[in-house]
Symmetry: C2
Subunit: 419 residues, 2 copies
């Protein structure tokens, strides 16, 4: 979709993403466990929303409307109707229209798309937020909750860890079909952790991993029930169960005028793509067809191709997903996604840096926040605001790709610096 009016990202903020493995996280092995709580869903949302207001300088009473991306608030945090948390965390938002949207791990991307629609008619300045808190239960329960992103009635029984199972199937079929080694796929993991170490808001900012460890298949790092799939998905192939929120402020041209901003001080969303495939229907393990059609729409409407991109955020929920997204987004030919990793092309210093802040693997994956986070990260790279992980050259066009479930909802956004 090409917005019928100009749509601009003004900026935003992330809360500090945390979870098991993060400095300060109060887990079972923490001396204050049971006495001190980790930040609540409301705390994360407040940090992101007030951070976005602060970072952009936008008077929040001028925000017209907004959406909160969230997938499993009713389960992890016993909280629904999260649109109505916004006036609670930012009183100036009282009385305005807000609601929560869910498309599983693509909830954040959908929140931004719904804001873009609002900017065509009912609003000039919008708030897109996303939040998830996932550390309130153990990993097996969390995996059961996450299984609601699949067709639960027909797919749940496949494994206690359904999504790792579904993507292990992709990893097995893909590596065997194309003769790609597990070691080559694991390069995505090493890159993610290396980038996340430079990002003070990354969940896994204190962690690193070398290629031998990332590629290793040991008795301790496997966890799937299915014997054939088991070696194709180790703990290090997975993104994190994270707590976090991200928020960004969008405006159309009228909104920019109201705020006294010029298009050169912001980034522009020049096109979006969105595609949804039916839950539980047959799904090709070799290729992310649904993401590919969302990308095709975005490229067409932005009138660009993959070679025009200078930075990207892709949905690395598992290591194989990053590789398959390289192909769905046209960064590499089919079967050759790992070549980009081997050649270092998607490193921060490469031709097309991908997931510069650590991606879902290291920055973290608070599901409802992820799509918002990606679009904000592309904005921050284009505006030169990424600090220690800033790409050290001028960037003009960025893409983010956010997917929900096993390639069921895909949101692709193209942004460019308008300066």
């Amino acid at each position: 979709m090409k917005p019928a009016k100009g749509v601009f990202v003004l900026g935003g903020a992330h809360s500090v993403y945390i979870g098991r493995g993060a400095p300060g996280f109060v887990g079972k092995d923490h001396p204050d466990f049971g006495k001190v709580s980790n930040p609540s869903v409301e705390d994360h949302l407040r940090d992101a929303v007030l951070g976005a207001v602060n970072e952009t300088g936008v008077d929040p009473s001028l925000i017209d409307k907004g959406y909160v991306g969230n997938f499993l608030g009713e389960l992890f945090t016993k909280q629904g109707q999260m649109g109505a948390l916004l006036p609670r965390v930012c009183p100036a938002l009282d009385g305005k229209p807000f609601a929560r949207v869910d498309a599983a791990c693509a909830s954040g991307g959908i929140a931004v798309l719904a804001c873009i629609d609002a900017l065509m008619g009912s609003a000039d300045i919008c708030l897109a937020a996303g939040v998830e808190v996932e550390t309130t239960v153990g990993s097996r329960d969390a995996a059961d909750f996450m299984a609601r992103a699949a067709h639960y009635a027909s797919e749940r029984a496949k494994d206690d860890f359904l999504f790792p199972h579904l993507f292990a199937r992709r990893a097995k079929v893909y590596t065997e079909h194309y003769g790609v080694s597990r070691r080559d796929v694991a390069l995505a993991v090493v890159k993610a952790y290396k980038n996340g170490q430079k990002n003070p808001k990354a969940h896994m900012r204190a962690a690193s991993i070398d290629l031998d460890t990332a590629a290793a298949v040991t008795s301790k790092n496997q966890f799937l029930s299915d014997v054939e799939l088991r070696p194709h998905m180790t703990l290090s192939d997975c993104s994190q169960l994270s707590d976090g929120a991200s928020a960004l402020i969008l405006a159309n041209e009228t909104g920019l005028q109201k705020l006294g901003l010029s298009p050169s001080s912001v980034t522009e969303i020049t096109a979006t793509g969105c595609a949804v495939a039916g839950l539980g229907l047959p799904n090709d393990p070799l290729f992310l067809h649904n993401a590919a059609r969302a990308a095709a729409e975005a490229y067409r409407d932005a009138n660009i191709g993959p070679n025009d991109l200078s930075v990207a955020e892709v949905h690395d929920c598992f290591s194989i997903t990053e590789v398959q997204l390289y192909e769905a987004l046209g960064f590499a030919e089919r079967g050759k996604g790992t070549h980009l990793l081997k050649d270092g092309l998607t490193e921060i210093n490469g031709r097309l840096p991908v997931n510069t802040g650590g991606g879902l693997m290291s920055f973290g994956h608070p599901v409802g926040a992820t799509g918002v986070k990606q679009i904000l990260e592309v904005h921050r790279q284009l505006m030169g605001k990424c600090g220690a992980y800033q790409v050290p050259r001028a960037l003009s066009v960025g893409m983010s790709a956010n997917i929900g479930g096993d390639d069921r909802t895909a949101v692709v956004v193209v942004q460019q610096s308008s300066g």
Copy 2:
């Protein structure tokens, strides 16, 4: 909000709403309990979506985009990402952008508003659906799930049945402050059941209640913990735990042209209002201030007043809510809502018929569906399609008022016949 382009309701359909008390419902006392299942969330959604396609004659491949209103799918039915159920129940929808929205009991209204925004820019023909299945657990568990529409962390402890508690407080303070009798409020219950008996899709179509029973306070029909609030909320004051789905198709003028329809064959949404108040913040038990500000926006932008309305759907989650909404929507002065009931003005034969199909009390309250159902019901009344409960005179303007939580999200929609 006044849509910047014309927005039209083409029609739609409801699944047959069911639950405890409905003919054919398989509950614990049914001989086939444990052997036969009630329809699933997917079954209801399929019935509503295919019904909407059938009723309007719209080729579903021409639908550009849509939203599904749903509040608690992850809990009641273990299913999230419900936008991706749509291509499953209607394969022609494959690849289009769909997502789920949640604003608790106002989820359906929000689904329609999000479609209206889409019709301003990215879409010409939209599908707004809503669905909830609530009978998979007992009423105490269901009440705990529903408590996620409040600020769970600070409000949950008030009562096992939190929402009946919150609205009992309204009933107590309101009746005492204005010297209104419980019997007068109970007139809303009698009206709802009387209307629902003429509606073949109503959950409680087989049930009736007389005023003595509706007003009675007995040891068997009370259930709240708080002794002072207990007599202000009996079982018959509550709407139903229902399973059901509703879907409607909307278009802008370009969409009507694509479909070969003239504005005279559909109804027009001339204005909407939406307001959101912070969860858990202080809340006046005497008046629905948040609904009132949504209504004020809708009246202003439609350039009409309450006297211009000829039919309405109001959110009677509890009997007191209908009375208080009469006042928030300006149908009656403050403290005089029950006068409309006593004078029969909101009966099907009255000056302003309200909830002609039985409202949330008798038609039922599958939470995510309700807002969509209301807008479709207004459409059906304006188009003369309500069969046995059709208002027997020409109608020109209708209003629906859908609220989430204890007056936290409010969606008010004004529709008129364009013929």
